[in-house]
Subunit: 472 residues, 2 copies
C-alpha cells in the first residue's frame, strides 16, 4: 500500500466506525502530516482519495468535512436470530435466477457477486495463457491429475506464508473454484442426513451443497459486525450432533464481516476440542480492506481439522475456475473424491494463473483492487443511505464487494426482488442466504462494478419499490 492510501484507509475507518460523523471537520492537512509522519503532499493525496470515494468533501476556506449523507448515517443491521433446530434446504431455483441475471447484460448487475470484468487483469492473464499454450501446446493438452499442477500449488503455498500459514504444495488440491473445494470438503466429512452448522446468513452456494447432498443445516447466529457468534455455536454443539461447521471468518459473504482474530483462534480450539471439522470459506480473504491480510482460521489449526477453501474467482479470474482446498487430515479422502467426480482439472487455466502469481503481478494488482472494491462499496452504501426507506440498516464491510441491507420489517425481499427484476434490476433477496427462508427483509447488493449513474438510478428504483406496496 502506498503511504497516502494507508493514511486514507485509517481516516476512512474512523468515519466508517462512527468516530468521525457526518458534518465533522477533519484534522487539518498540517496536523495529519505531523501525526502520521508524512509530507503535506501525501496528506493532500490521502484527502483527495477519501473525497473521490465519497467519504469527505472540501469546503472552500474551511477545510475537509465528513459528507452529510456519508457511510455512517445508516446503522449496521442487527444479528437476526435464525430458526432453532435443523432444517432442509431448498434454494436451487432462486440461485439459478440470480446467476442467470449476471449473464444478461440488459440487467443492472446488483445480484450475483461478480466483479466487473473490466476491473480484472484479463489481458495480462490472457498473455500468460497465450504464451503457455503456444510455447508448450502438448503440456497444456496433458492431464493434470489430482492434486493438480505443482507450479500452481507452489504459488499458493508461497502466498500462505504471508499470513503465517505452513501449507506445503503437497497439502493443496487444485479444484474447480471454491465451489468444488466446499463440495469435496463437505462430502469428505459428512454423510447424508448429517447436521452441518452454518452462519446465518450464509453464502447460498454452501446452502445449495447441503441441499444436494441431503445434509441438514443448523443455523448459527452471526453478527453483522463480529461474525459467527461463538456462544451460539457452543449452544448448538451442546444441543446437536454437528458433523461439520462451514464458516467464513474473514470477509464473510454476504456480511463483509471479519471475526476478531482472537475469536478465530477460539473457534478453531473449540471445534478441535469437539473433534468437529471446520470448513473455512476464505474466498474473499484477499479482498480485505485492512493494512494486513487477516489471518485465516486455518493458521491456528493444530490437528488438521480445518479444511481451507480458496479461489481466484473473486479478485482475479472468474472465468478460469481455479480454486483450491487445503484439507488437512482429510487430504487423501478429498483427492479420492475428486478423482471419482471430475478426474482432473483443465491444465491451461492452472498454468496461466500460476504464471500470473509467479510474475509478482498479483500483489500489486490486489492492492489496487482492494481500494477499488472499497470505493465501490462506499458508493453503493451512500446510495442506499440516500434512497432506501427510513429504518434501513446496512453493513460496513471489512472486505469484499457486497453489501447487506436490512430493510424495515414488513418489506418482503423476495417480492421486492421480483418487482426489481421486472424493472431490469437483478438483486439477491435475503432468503437466498438462509437455510430456513429467513432474512426476509434483507437484500444483498453486488458492488463489483464501477459506480455509474445507471447503478445509482437502480438503487433509487429499489428504494422506491421498497416504499411502494408490493404486487405492482
Amino acid at each position: 500500500m502506498t503511504r497516502y492510501s494507508a493514511v486514507a484507509s485509517r481516516l476512512g475507518t474512523l468515519i466508517e466506525r462512527g468516530t468521525l460523523r457526518a458534518g465533522d471537520r477533519l484534522p487539518s492537512l498540517r496536523r495529519t502530516s505531523r501525526r502520521e509522519g508524512v509530507s503535506l503532499t501525501t496528506s493532500l493525496q490521502a484527502y483527495a482519495l477519501l473525497e473521490s470515494r465519497g467519504y469527505i468533501e472540501a469546503r472552500p476556506q474551511s477545510g475537509f468535512f465528513v459528507r452529510p449523507s456519508a457511510v455512517r448515517s445508516v446503522p449496521e443491521p442487527l444479528a437476526a436470530a435464525p430458526r432453532r433446530g435443523s432444517v432442509r434446504v431448498g434454494l436451487a431455483a432462486l440461485a439459478m435466477r440470480v446467476l442467470e441475471g449476471a449473464q444478461d447484460p440488459s440487467l443492472v448487475p446488483l445480484g450475483a457477486a461478480c466483479p466487473s470484468s473490466g476491473l480484472l487483469p484479463a489481458r495480462k492473464l490472457a498473455r500468460f495463457a497465450s504464451l503457455h499454450v503456444r510455447r508448450a501446446p502438448a503440456e497444456a493438452n496433458s492431464y493434470a491429475f489430482p492434486p493438480g499442477r505443482l507450479e500452481l500449488r507452489r504459488e499458493i503455498a508461497r502466498r500462505a506464508v504471508d499470513w503465517g500459514g505452513t501449507l506445503t504444495p503437497d497439502a493443496i488440491l487444485v479444484t474447480c473454484g471454491a465451489t468444488e473445494a466446499l463440495h469435496l470438503a463437505l462430502r469428505a466429512v459428512t454423510n447424508r442426513g448429517d447436521l452441518v452448522a452454518v452462519e446465518s446468513p450464509a453464502y447460498f452456494g454452501t446452502l445449495m451443497i447441503l441441499e444436494t447432498l441431503g445434509l441438514r443445516a443448523v443455523e448459527i447466529l452471526t453478527d453483522p459486525r463480529d461474525g459467527l457468534r461463538l456462544d451460539a455455536l457452543k449452544e448448538a454443539l451442546a444441543r446437536h450432533r454437528i458433523a461439520a461447521v462451514v464458516a467464513s471468518p474473514v470477509c464473510h459473504n454476504p456480511l463483509g464481516t471479519t471475526m476478531p482474530e482472537a475469536a478465530r483462534q477460539v473457534l478453531v480450539a473449540l471445534l478441535a476440542r469437539h473433534r468437529v471439522p471446520l470448513i473455512e470459506d476464505d474466498v474473499y480473504g484477499d479482498a480485505h480492506y485492512d493494512a494486513e491480510r487477516p489471518v485465516p482460521a486455518k493458521r491456528f489449526d493444530r490437528d488438521g481439522g480445518v479444511l481451507l477453501c480458496g479461489s481466484f474467482s473473486k479478485v482475479l479470474a472468474p472465468g478460469y475456475r481455479v480454486g483450491w482446498l487445503a484439507a488437512g487430515r482429510y487430504h487423501a479422502r478429498v483427492s479420492q473424491l475428486q478423482l471419482a467426480s471430475t478426474l482432473a482439472q483443465p491444465t491451461l487455466p492452472q498454468l496461466a494463473v500460476a504464471a500470473f502469481l509467479g510474475s509478482g503481478g498479483y500483489d500489486q494488482f490486489l492492492k489496487r483492487m482492494r481500494g477499488t472494491y472499497r470505493d465501490q462499496v462506499a458508493r453503493a452504501r451512500d446510495a442506499v443511505a440516500r434512497y432506501f426507506p427510513e429504518g434501513t440498516r446496512v453493513t460496513s464491510p471489512s472486505g469484499g464487494f457486497v453489501l447487506w441491507a436490512q430493510l424495515p420489517d414488513g418489506i418482503d425481499a423476495l417480492d421486492l426482488a421480483e418487482r426489481a427484476l421486472a424493472r431490469g434490476i437483478s438483486v439477491s433477496p435475503g432468503p437466498l442466504f438462509s437455510a430456513s427462508g429467513g432474512h426476509r427483509s434483507c437484500l444483498r447488493l453486488n458492488c463489483g462494478h464501477p459506480w455509474t449513474p445507471r447503478l445509482d438510478a437502480a438503487v433509487r428504483t429499489l428504494g422506491s419499490l421498497a416504499r411502494s406496496p408490493g404486487g405492482s
Copy 2:
C-alpha cells in the same frame, strides 16, 4: 477415408476375423484392383499400409502374405461370468497408482488409457485458445454458468446429427470431461445404497463413482465380441431392483467391443419398459474403426431415459477437460447438481474446443486418428501374440486404443502389475475393471502411443514376467 485406406480396412478385417490366416497369400495386386474397382497404385498403397501396420509382409517374387505371428493367432477372450448379487466397490488406491503411472515419463505407458500427446492436434488447439484469449480476454475471464458456452453446445448438437441424433444445444450440459458427466448422471438417478448394473469388465472410473457414492454394483456378463449380454441383463432386472444401468455399447473400455446395432436398440427398449435409466458412456465412440460412426444407444431413446456422456479427452484434448452430458428427462436435475458441485466450467477450454470443431478440422483429424489407433492396437496385439504365454487370449477391438488380454488361469494380474511396475512398466490389472475383484488373470494395455522398440521390449518383459513364478 481415402480409397486405399478403405481397401486396407476391408482386407484388415478379413485378417482380424480369421478369414485370412497366418501364412495365407493375399490376392494379387491386379486381382484386388479389379475386385475393388481401384487403380494398381491404390492397391499397392493399401498393401503398403497393411504392411506398415504389421498385418502382412512382402516376400520377394511371391507376393504378400499374412504375417505368421499376426493378429489372428491369439483367440479372443471368453466372457467371464461375474459374481452374482450386488457388491461394494473399493478401487481408489489401485486407480490412483495407474493414473500416476501415466504422469511418470520414466515408466512405459501401457497403464492409463492416455493417447500420446504427440498424436493430438495440440498446436492447432493452442492456436485457437491463444487467438480467443487474446481477442476477447474479458470473455475468457467471465463465468460460463451451466449449461455452458452455447458455441460448444451447438457444435456438439451439430455433430450428433451425423449419427441421427436429435440433440438440441439446450439439452446438453458441458462438463469436466466424461467423468463429471457420469458422476452427475449417477447422482441424478440414484440414492446411496441403490443397485446399479454395470458391465463386467467395466471402466474403473465408473466403478470408483459407485464406490464414492455408496452405490452397489450388479455386474452383468459382457462378451468380448458382442458386448453387454442382454439375457444376463434381463435376469438381473428380474432378480434385483436396479436403479440405473451404466454401459458403453459403442467402443467399450476395456474390451473395445461395439454391441450390434439391433442389440443397442433392444437394450434401450428393454430399459424403457422397466423405467430404468441408461447412462451411456460414449467416450470412445468417435474412435471407432468402422466406415460409419456406430450409432449411440441414445439414438433409440424415446422417453428421455438415456443419459449420454461424451468427451473430447480421448481423441482430441485430454488436458482441456471438455466433456458433455445429454441427460434427457434428467436435464434440470443434473444442471442443479452441477451448479452446487462445480458451479461453472472454465470458459477458455470450451471456446478453444468449440472453435476447433467449428473449423471442420475435427473430422479430418478423426479420420487419420482412427487409422493411427487401429494401427497401434494391431501392433500391440501382434506383440502380445509373440511374447505372452501360450493360452493367452486377446480382444479384437472395433475402436479405441486399449487391448484386453486374458492370460492363462493361475496368473495373478495384480501381482504381475506389481512386478511390472518394479521393472518400469505401468499396466492396468484386470481387477481394476471389476467391482468384485474379478478378471484376476486379465490385463488392459494402453495402445495410445506410437509403436516403438521400447514398447515392444515392455510387452516382451510382461510376457516373461507372466511365465516366471510370482513374487520376484
